[in-house]
């Protein structure tokens, strides 16, 4: 019998704590598959951030460091500077990366730090119970924007991928979505490219993933995926905002 669906080697055999319908699990799987495909499991060091994915070190079967809230890119920098021939990736939410950790992510990208960043944009602070994030949509109701996000009061959502793509140090920057199988397939290719960018020593790489949080959005898993497609994507266009130079040439 041919196996069509197995656990990636780089994932541990444990039950994840993510809510039903949460796409964090898919994102983990894509990262693990890329690590397997590139054959880098035993020389990869992951950096977990603070958010729902804080326990990522229990799910990936490779060395890991757990970082303070927002500081994963700095921690990854420390690791990579000591071990330049290892593969280092961070896995961060949008509160972590786009709010408290903006300085660290911008400067890691500016330096062209040879790390791969997996950035989960679910438009809320998941772990702390659905507060407003910098990525929260205008009008979106959260536990700290009960009347919906009012841009006069707290601004418009932040587009991290586009911002970072302005920096020469950022060699690969893409935004993908995890709301249906076709988009997941595209996301898989983006994750592979982001790791290859590091392996080929080209610079900083980031994949922003539009991800669902049915729990804090107050939706069923299916509704949440539809919301990603209908509401998040118009605010956060998908695509590659920066690709390594050789590839960019026709």
């Amino acid at each position: 019998m041919r196996e069509v669906f197995t656990r990636p080697k780089s994932m541990r055999k444990v039950v994840m704590h993510y809510c039903p319908g949460c796409t964090h699990g898919i994102a983990h799987r894509l990262v693990a598959e890329a690590i397997d495909e590139l054959g880098i499991q035993h020389r990869t060091i992951g950096v977990a951030s603070v958010g729902c994915s804080v326990l990522a070190y229990e799910y990936f079967d490779c060395d890991f460091q757990q970082a303070a809230h927002g500081r994963a890119p700095a921690v990854a920098t420390g690791i990579k500077r000591v071990l330049p021939d290892r593969v280092v990736f961070t896995y961060q939410g949008d509160g972590d990366l786009a709010s408290i950790g903006t300085a660290e992510i911008v400067h890691a990208a500016m330096r062209g730090e040879r790390i791969t960043v997996i950035f989960i944009n679910n438009a809320v602070y998941g772990m702390t119970g659905g507060q407003m994030a910098p990525t929260t949509l205008v009008g979106q109701v959260t536990t700290t924007s009960p009347g919906g996000r009012d841009p006069r009061h707290c601004g418009h959502p932040i587009r991290i991928a586009e911002m970072l793509a302005t920096l020469e140090g950022a060699a690969y920057v893409a935004r993908v979505s995890l709301h249906d199988p076709a988009h997941v397939a595209r996301a898989r290719r983006a994750v592979l490219k982001a790791f290859r960018t590091q392996l080929e020593d080209r610079g900083f790489a980031l994949v922003e993933m539009l991800s669902s949080c049915p729990t804090n959005w107050g939706m069923s898993p299916r509704e949440a995926l539809r919301w990603v497609k209908e509401k998040l994507i118009p605010q956060y266009p998908l695509g590659e905002f920066r690709v390594p130079e050789e590839e960019a040439r026709p």
Binding site: Q41, H42, R43, T44, I45, V47, V54, L55, Y57, F60, D61, C62, D63, F64, Q65, Q66, A67, A68, R71, A74, V75, A76, T77, G78, I79, K80, R81, V82, L83, R86, A103, E104, V106, H107
Partner: protein, 357 residues
């Protein structure tokens, strides 16, 4: 041992780190410690290391976390406002049991304060300025020679206990030049192995660097483990200097730069026939209890002198524990107490008056 050379304190710190086998430095500019990163930005690449100027002290200490977790000897340095920003990282380093050396060339505070020498970060250094029940050994050298030796020793202590170690000085120690004899560099292959480091799990189960324990019992057990380690440090790593001449009745307590001013006062007092002693803590944490036990019976009183509003004096009171009067004299904000002021404080203590009043 090499030859005697003249060196600026801050540069000597950088050279001592390299000789201790440190090859990684992450920092952010702040006066009066800039010569440390400037020196290392030159020297580290020469010895195959990495100097990286971070975007902030917050980033710098977290780069230290990553590098320490990857198994490297690593250092950062800063001055008071920057050390405040490093406190979150220090708590994480202590929680995740990562060794590193943090130098604080203290300046007057609070807030932006000034850039002149001070000792007003004693509480922050010895009580653990970040959150949680943690401790960091703190070395307070009084000369550039001692600075060099303690910076090198700090890396040993950090690795021995898998814990951050602090070295504190001030702008005087950092900027002045003194002759030093630089110890020979430690051979890199003699540094302790770190099988716990995250280097890629080739041929072993994954290593995880972490301070998160969601289960209260596990977090409590982790804390007990840390406390046991801190008790061990208290048993084995206390350092001090005791100057205990025959006939001393008043004992000064002072560390770092202040202890040097106190010594000149002691010498002058002796010429006038007043004999005093000195307890000079070299480790500010663990604070030395032993010298107090050795002299408390014959001491009439203790006089603690600091460049602060009175921080170490609290540890002195705990050590003396009410058995003798403990007096305090200090200057704040970057003003170094003058020998005349300290002599005046001594006179008051001899007359049974309070020098602080």
């Amino acid at each position: 041992m090499g030859e005697r050379i003249l060196m600026k304190g801050n540069e000597a710190i950088g050279e001592a780190a390299i000789r201790a086998g440190c090859r990684y430095f992450f920092g952010y500019p702040i006066t009066p410690q800039n010569e440390i990163p400037e020196y290392l930005s030159r020297r580290l690449p020469e010895v195959g290391g990495v100097f990286l100027q971070a975007e902030s002290e917050v980033a710098a200490i977290n780069m230290v976390y990553g590098a320490a977790g990857a198994g490297a000897r690593v250092m950062t340095s800063s001055s008071s406002p920057g050390i405040s920003l490093k406190q979150e990282g220090l708590s994480y380093l202590a929680g995740a049991e990562l060794p590193c050396v943090v130098v604080n060339i203290i300046r007057g505070g609070p807030g932006l304060g000034g850039i002149q020498p001070a000792q007003s970060d004693y509480f922050q250094a010895t009580r653990g300025g970040g959150h949680g029940d943690y401790r960091t050994p703190v070395f307070g050298p009084a000369s550039i020679q001692e600075m060099v030796e303690l910076v090198m020793e700090a890396f040993e202590v950090a690795d021995r206990y898998r814990n951050p170690v602090m070295v504190v000085g001030d702008g005087i120690l950092g900027q002045m030049m003194e002759p030093v004899v630089l110890p020979d560099p430690k051979p890199l292959d003699s540094l302790p192995a770190k099988p716990w480091a995250t280097t890629g799990n080739q041929g072993r189960p994954p290593n995880v660097i972490n301070s998160l324990f969601l289960d209260a019992n596990l977090c409590s057990r982790h804390n007990e483990h840390l406390q046991e380690k801190y008790r061990e440090i208290c048993r084995r790593e206390v350092r001090y200097e005791l100057v205990d001449p025959e006939g001393a009745e008043i004992y000064f307590v002072a560390y770092g730069t202040t202890s040097r001013v106190v010594r000149s006062v002691m010498n002058r007092a002796r010429e006038e026939g007043i004999i005093t002693g000195l307890i000079r803590p070299i480790t500010l944490w663990p604070f030395p209890q032993e010298p107090f036990e050795r002299v408390v019976e014959r001491a009439k009183a203790f006089l603690c002198v600091e460049m602060s509003a009175g921080q170490m004096v609290e540890d002195v009171r705990l050590a003396v524990n009410g058995r003798r009067p403990v007096h305090f004299y200090g200057r704040t904000g970057g003003v170094v107490p003058s020998p005349a002021e300290i002599a005046d404080a001594l006179r008051k203590v001899l007359e049974g008056r309070d020098p602080g009043a």
